[in-house]
């Protein structure tokens, strides 16, 4: 087993930094959607607060949910989109003939996804403070656990989506946008899992994000920190991330069998 090189991971991360540095539109784009979402849900919260006891009890329930959801969405999209960037620029072949190992590619994608998520969601989080007097950090230390778990789940889905695109070509690119939304109703972002029909509960609890959002509601509504939610989410994430990495590496292997790395591109 060859050692993983931080220098090579850093080199690839530098490539994305150059890309961001070269286009301010890309940086703005990172923060645009999370900010729009935050503004929209902020107004909805303000409106509903006057009509709902629940929202009166826990101000920021919806805004916390939307911002946490964006962490999941951005981390998944950040990983997939950056991988697609290599396909679009027909650079994947160059990367795979360099000493960069597939696992290092994965780690660099994760690193860049983390940076993109922090920039994108971070801007919206900070803007929410003057806009709605809402501070996501009111969730306290559990926020770190929520963030980590949503990030890991986003990476797992991002890797699975990237593997699909590597296998089936750029035609499957739209899955990157659709995949996470297919899971959204099951994650209990804006409502407790108990709201879902009973037969959907096992599916819902099989998703790390469901545990995170239940944990978030426990903090905001009951003012309790449920460590069990975080640990379940972490266990599930370890399994899903392992699966994502395995499937991605298998897709790379298959691509090397089929000669797809020579021709990958638009």
């Amino acid at each position: 087993m060859r050692l993983i090189s931080p220098q090579r991971i850093g080199a690839l991360a530098l490539r994305y930094l150059y890309l961001l540095r070269g286009s301010w539109i890309r940086v703005v784009e990172l923060a645009y959607w999370p900010t729009v979402q935050m503004i929209l849900w902020g107004f909805i919260t303000q409106y509903l607060a006057g009509h709902s006891d629940l929202l009166n009890q826990a101000t920021g329930l919806l805004l916390s949910a939307v911002l946490l959801w964006d962490i999941l969405f951005r981390s998944q999209l950040g990983l997939s989109v950056v991988f697609f960037e290599e396909l679009h620029s027909r650079n994947l072949g160059q990367l795979f003939i360099s000493p960069l190992q597939p696992i290092e590619l994965i780690l660099s994608l994760m690193l860049v996804s983390l940076a993109r998520t922090l920039i994108g969601v971070g801007f919206a989080v900070l803007l929410a403070i003057p806009f709605y007097s809402f501070n996501l950090f009111q969730l306290g230390p559990p926020l770190a656990g929520f963030f980590l778990n949503l990030l890991l789940m986003g990476w797992a889905i991002g890797l699975l989506v990237s593997a699909l695109v590597l296998r089936y070509g750029m035609g499957a690119e739209s899955i990157a946008w659709a995949a996470i939304f297919a899971l959204a109703p099951l994650c209990g972002i804006y409502y407790p899992i108990a709201t879902l029909p009973d037969w959907l509960h096992p599916l819902s609890w099989a998703l790390p994000a469901s545990h995170v959002f239940e944990g978030m509601r426990a903090v905001l509504l009951q003012h309790t920190f449920r460590l069990d939610f975080l640990l379940y989410a972490l266990l599930l994430n370890v399994a899903y991330l392992g699966l994502g990495i395995g499937v991605f590496l298998a897709a790379v292997h298959k691509a090397r069998e089929r000669g797809a790395l020579l021709q990958s591109g638009e």
Partner: protein, 262 residues
């Protein structure tokens, strides 16, 4: 020729080839892209893989790089088994092809910096300055790669391939898209590099005068099989032709050496 590796050089003897291929095969279902080829290339030699479109040149090179997994056969590069131990040899190799791009939106300097780091190059600035000067690309270091002409891109691709001063340099049509003057300069750079570093060059080319000038070993492929091998002069003599262009046409059209064609 059997399974025994064909060897480089006019004398056909190599003490220690840096590339050794035995019975290499790549099949896509019923299609035999590479069909049991064996050859070896000596350290410091320049070897051309020639053949018409679909002959198996690019497939062979891709397998040497570990970019494509063989259906069967053995590849040893610098004594290491490829693709199994490819990461032991990839830092000592490189590849240039006008058909493989670099990120379009990054500048030339950014692209080269990223790849220099990937290859673990030390003193990156000095290396880039040297390559910029040698390949005459320093004038557009700050331009996005995507804005360059095809010829400029070919030169940048070659700069990327020389970043790590590879012991084995694989080239796919190294002078494609270049005007005759620039192409000539590129050939000089390649021969200078080879002579100075003792590197081994393996190139696929359709430019026969380039092959005559650069190469001391030629491997002719047709339908995934080796159909002729030898030094350019030896092949010209064997086929009774005046240059490699004519030899290439004979071989591509399936005319055996010694046949008289009206």
């Amino acid at each position: 020729m059997g399974d025994r590796a064909r060897t480089a050089g006019a004398d056909g003897v190599i003490a220690e080839p840096v590339i050794r291929i035995e019975n290499l095969r790549k099949h896509y279902g019923p299609v035999r892209a590479v069909d049991g080829i064996s050859f070896a290339v000596a350290r410091g030699a320049t070897c051309a893989l020639l053949g018409g479109n679909g002959a198996g040149k690019t497939t062979t090179i891709a397998m040497l790089l570990g970019l494509l997994l063989p259906t069967g056969g053995d590849i040893r590069i610098l004594g290491e088994e490829v693709p199994r131990h490819r990461y032991r040899v990839l830092p000592r190799m490189n590849f240039s092809s006008p058909y493989m791009d670099l990120p379009q939106r990054l500048t030339v300097a950014e692209n080269l910096t990223v790849y220099a780091r990937l290859y673990g190059v030390r003193r990156i600035r000095e290396r880039l300055a040297t390559l910029g000067r040698d390949l005459d690309i320093d004038a557009f270091f700050k331009r996005p790669y995507g804005s360059l002409s095809a010829g400029q891109k070919t030169r940048v691709a070659l700069a990327k391939a020389l970043l790590n001063e590879p012991e084995i340099l694989l080239l796919d049509e190294p002078t494609a898209s270049l005007d005759p003057d620039t192409a000539d300069r590129m050939r000089s750079i390649l021969t200078d590099y080879r002579d100075r570093s003792g590197a081994t060059l393996l190139l696929a080319s359709h430019n026969m005068s380039e092959v005559e000038r650069l190469c001391d070993q030629v491997i002719m492929l047709r339908a995934g099989q080796i159909v002729a091998t030898g030094a350019p002069r030896e092949l010209i003599h064997r086929y009774g032709r005046k240059d490699m262009e004519e030899v290439f046409l004979d071989i591509a059209r399936g005319i055996e050496s010694g046949e008289v064609v009206e």
